[in-house]
């Protein structure tokens, strides 16, 4: 009984919050004054970086997050000899339709930065790893291009580079024969810490949708934790028990 009341209440609050979300968000953001770690300090398990993506705010025909990621990390236009299904895809837009209700959803799909990443489990060289602060990366210096991780990933978040590249972005060195995926803009996170805004989130804000909230899941006072606490969220394929760092709302 009381559970039902709570569920309805939560739903109502959720909707109310979605309406006021835009006006609240910039104000809250300005209050957040934490700084990044010093450049010579190693990352630690004190932080766990993650994101919340509000699918209610994600526009179906908008691709700004994808374009921004391509620009930031230098993928998407330089693999001219690869088939479309071979080309890199660090982030992609997915449109979903609920079979029973017919409701449609639009959301960006990217590396979910799992707490227990299957990609790292299967990697034979240790190239796929989860950094102390929760960011899942490929150390391409060790990657031998076997692509086990691509098969292990339930989110199909990884790509393999099939051809020789030149003039890569300094943010993301990329080369033939190695696997790659979203780095949560680790170069920005290392620089700005709690104040970091990954390129996808930045573009989404600029478009006026503000569907992304980046932050520290370990800090109960971070805007991310506060938003999650208030409105709840879902993790995609939560049944796998991987505890992704990327949360979604509205699906």
């Amino acid at each position: 009984m009381s559970k039902d009341v709570n569920a309805t209440r939560r739903k109502f609050l959720g909707q109310a919050a979605a309406l006021t979300g835009l006006s609240v968000a910039p104000g809250v953001f300005l209050v957040d004054l934490a700084h990044g770690k010093p450049a010579d300090e190693p990352v630690s398990a004190k932080n766990r970086w993650g994101m919340l993506i509000d699918t209610n705010k994600c526009a179906k025909d908008c691709n700004a997050c994808v374009t921004a990621c391509q620009q930031e990390n230098g993928w998407g236009s330089n693999e001219v000899n690869s088939r479309p299904d071979q080309q890199a895809q660090w982030i992609r837009k997915v449109n979903l339709k609920h079979k029973a209700t017919g409701a449609t959803y639009s959301l960006p799909m990217l590396c979910q930065h799992c707490e227990t990443p299957p990609c790292a489990d299967v990697c034979p060289t240790g190239a796929s790893f989860r950094r102390a602060d929760g960011i899942v990366l490929v150390d391409k210096h060790i990657c031998i291009g076997c692509r086990y991780c691509m098969m292990a990933c339930p989110y199909k978040a990884r790509s393999f580079i099939h051809e020789v590249l030149q003039d890569q972005s300094v943010n993301a060195p990329r080369g033939k024969g190695t696997v790659e995926s979203c780095t949560l803009c680790v170069h920005r996170v290392d620089r700005d810490g709690e104040n970091a805004v990954p390129a996808c989130a930045e573009a989404c804000n600029e478009e006026g949708h503000a569907a992304f909230v980046f932050g520290d899941l370990n800090d109960p006072d971070s805007r991310l934790s506060q938003t999650l606490k208030k409105f709840g969220s879902r993790q995609i394929r939560a049944d796998l028990g991987l505890n992704p760092g990327i949360h979604y709302k509205g699906i």
Binding site: P42, R131, A132, D133, S169
Partner: protein
């Protein structure tokens, strides 16, 4: 005791000098790599140290950045290129790794060193050169093919001055 030591030192100096008198004319004919001059007053470590150990620094930095998020500029690979590779002139191709004119391959071609770094890393400048202040960093021109000879020349000159 003291004079024995002194004599030994003199003999050593003499030996070096004699050896060099044979070696120096020969060295003038030995081809040496033409290493393009870097930007700024000095390198991130003394030039002598960089010549011999630059790879230790960047390989160490590679792991520190990748796994621990350490992003100090001093030994960053991207920073090496910002100082050591010039931007493309208008209408011209930038010098590429592999060419004798590219800073890194000027030496590597000469010494037969193969690296794969630039399959992924941009082989040109991607930002502003790091600003280092202080005294000019270049102690001796790279005129001899062997660092050991370089060392011997310096020891000999110092001894002569004493």
């Amino acid at each position: 005791m003291k004079s024995l030591y002194y004599n030994n030192k003199r003999i050593a100096t003499l030996l070096v000098a004699v050896l060099l008198s044979f070696a120096l004319p020969a060295m003038a004919d030995t081809p040496v790599p033409v290493v393009p001059k870097g930007k700024g007053v000095k390198c991130v470590e003394p030039t002598d140290v960089m010549r011999k150990r630059h790879f230790e620094f960047i390989l160490h930095q590679r792991d520190a950045t990748m796994h621990e998020g350490i992003r100090t500029p001093q030994h960053s690979l991207a920073q090496c290129l910002n100082c050591h590779v010039p931007k493309a002139e208008a209408g011209q191709e930038r010098v590429r790794y592999g060419s004798d004119e590219h800073f890194c391959s000027s030496c590597h071609n000469y010494a037969g060193v193969t690296i794969d770094c630039f399959e992924c890393h941009n082989d040109g400048p991607t930002g502003q050169p790091l600003e280092l202040t202080g005294a000019e960093g270049r102690p001796t021109p790279l005129a001899q093919p062997l660092d050991l000879v370089d060392e011997a020349v310096r020891v000999a000159t110092r001894e002569e001055e004493e």
